[in-house]
Amino acid sequence: MTELIDHDYFAGDGDDLHVVGTSVTRADALGHVTGRTQFFEDLLLADCLHLKMHRSERHHALLKRVDVSGALEVPGVVRVLTHEDVPENWYTVLRLIGVEPNDQPVLPEDRVLWRGEPIVAVVAETEASALEGAARVEVEYEDLPAVLTMEEALTEDAPIIKPHGANCFIYEGHPCRRIRFGNVEHAFAQADHVFEWRYESEPIEHAPVETTGCIVVPQPNGRLKIHSNTQAAFFTLDNTALIIGGPFNRLQLVGGTVGGGFGGKVDVIVEPIACLAALATNRPVEYVYSRLEEMQVSSTRSAEIFVVKDGVMADGRIVARKVTCYMEAGAYTGHTTYGVTKCAAHMPGPYSIPNVWVDAYCVYTNRTPTGPMRGFGVTNADFALETQMDRIARALEMDPLELRLKNAYRDGDLKAHRKVAEGAALVEVIQRAAELTGHELAEEYERMSSLTHAGVGV
């Protein structure tokens, strides 16, 4: 195991530290190897009820009739919940940071917008009864035209599936988040080469081994204690409180030991309805996703499309980068509008490019609502940008690392989002990677540093 930290670069002042910088044994390792770490589902309650959902079988349809009588006849079924049981049925999780409108129902009222959308919650003594009950709910649909791709969603005559009248999120009157820096068209005209390529990425499931879930336990003092594997305790508590109504301090959320999150456990999707079920029955209620639900119902990383157009000089300097990107929100906004803005903020990648234009769309379709995943808004962007750099290097017959070093951003550079860069180190990680892999760099590139612009033919 090679020594991890190379202290030759940026020799810091870390010598007088005692604990920071040392490989302290994981505080949770002992519990993990003895099987005694407490995950939310390891709370064993004798009289716990189980909640299962009856889910939509259609991509996009009106709900003509929802008949729960069959479910109520199943032995062990205690309660059934529909939208009528949800005090504040319409929400969007980022309303906590000012995003609107509240475009998502906890349980739908007149239509479903994606296959798998929860319609009726069935609460029963055992999982088997809840599953049976959920299967006995009868729903009569009237299909509506479904929009299943982003391209389709943005065409002129596409059916509009969102109440605000567009199949994309509106950013302060614009259909997309925008970056306008310099003049890309002018720069394209001056460039020796112009390359435009397209990249696509399909949805990815977080697939934590522990599925999303919670147990809500009514407390003697009338409050509700939510045992949850959420990644964000108060974010979940506040959103849940807004949905179920009543005083915020009625809720307590405990957890913090999560069997893998990767961004998939911050959707506040199981806690609200489980709280309502606990209030309705005055008994503990567990609502945990099956593996099938985690795979096809829980949020995924969004499908994304990038079109990257670069103006490049013969010597490899990139003078213009125009990026059009489409991130699929699926049926509801969720976190995607934030992810799109984060994607735009990331552009044009770790390079100083004087002219940058970005149009980043948050697109709605009749598909499983997407959510944040590790590298939210950036992972698929980096796939596009770093494949683009490889293609430029090939086209110019330039060394791929030297092309990146030539364009790498440095301290003091103005980024496209107008922030002055500081603490840059792209040059150094590339140089160190070249050293690690025996990759020869020309002398001028060896000497480059993030601290100065020496050696860059600006």
Partner: protein, 333 residues
Amino acid sequence: MSVLHGRGYAAVNYPTGMNLGGDPSQALIHATTTGTFVIALSSTDLGQGLKTVIPQIAAETLGLPVEYILLDTADTDTGPHCMGTFASRATHRVGNAVIMAAREARQAMLEVAALELGAEPEELATDGSGFVFVEDDPERRIFIVDLALAAHFKHGRTLSGRGIFLKEHHDPVPETGEMDPDSCQAHACTVADVEVDDETGEVTVLKLFNVYELGRVINPALVRQQIEGGAYMGMAHALYETTEPYYPKRDHLPSNFGEYVLPGPAEAPEMESVVIERPSSTGPYGAKGIGEMTANSPIAAIGNAIYDACGVRLTTRPFTPERVLRGLDALKS
């Protein structure tokens, strides 16, 4: 049949903290009669290591061994607010909040020690051993347990502190996209060596070289876990993962870990990882966030390595054997 070898590169940066800020975290800390400082949070550990890293930061600030720090987290009745664990923010935000709280607690600790040792707080020092001592006369010292008992029962002093870290939120300018998205940027360069079976399109990742710059490393072993665990996830993203194998058609959707094709233990590539430190101006002891970026650069590095090996340029992820083989067939025709 031949196996083609290729190498690919990718270099990336990644922001620390929720985009555009507005994501505070708070920490409370107090000593008990056991001489141990308890940190109260509502932050979560998804396996990224918060429960280990945060006590290290508190121990460093207090000047105590980490064994004298306890972390009590994720109870919204007892732990102060935290925005949540995502956006590579926890070490940075919670770390800064804990430093602020620990500094206040340390000051109270030094003041009580000064009373016990008959000296001025400014004359006192710690060396991580658990003792507070007069810098010029180290024999005049008191151990943290005795100090805590004196504080509780003799001097009536609470050894506690409060901390919060907030990067103010600013909305982007709609017309230009001007915004202040991050507290600092981490960096990485990944080099991937792959093998392509030109008869089946199967790609094997032989080795991943992971070079990172993460500001100050708080715990090297945990940093390696995130770098190499993330690089593996990047390989999984690159070559295997899709919830819709026939996207955009919604057919044959995987329902479990059998059908959702993921690489297994046999697919773990050899890895060599190196970290360089350029301490950040905003992070706790210069730390930057790492959790979210480590799956990113491997994807393009692997895609570029496939091109280097067999000339097939893959622009749709995942790079399945079918896509590689269709590319090879197209090159041949």
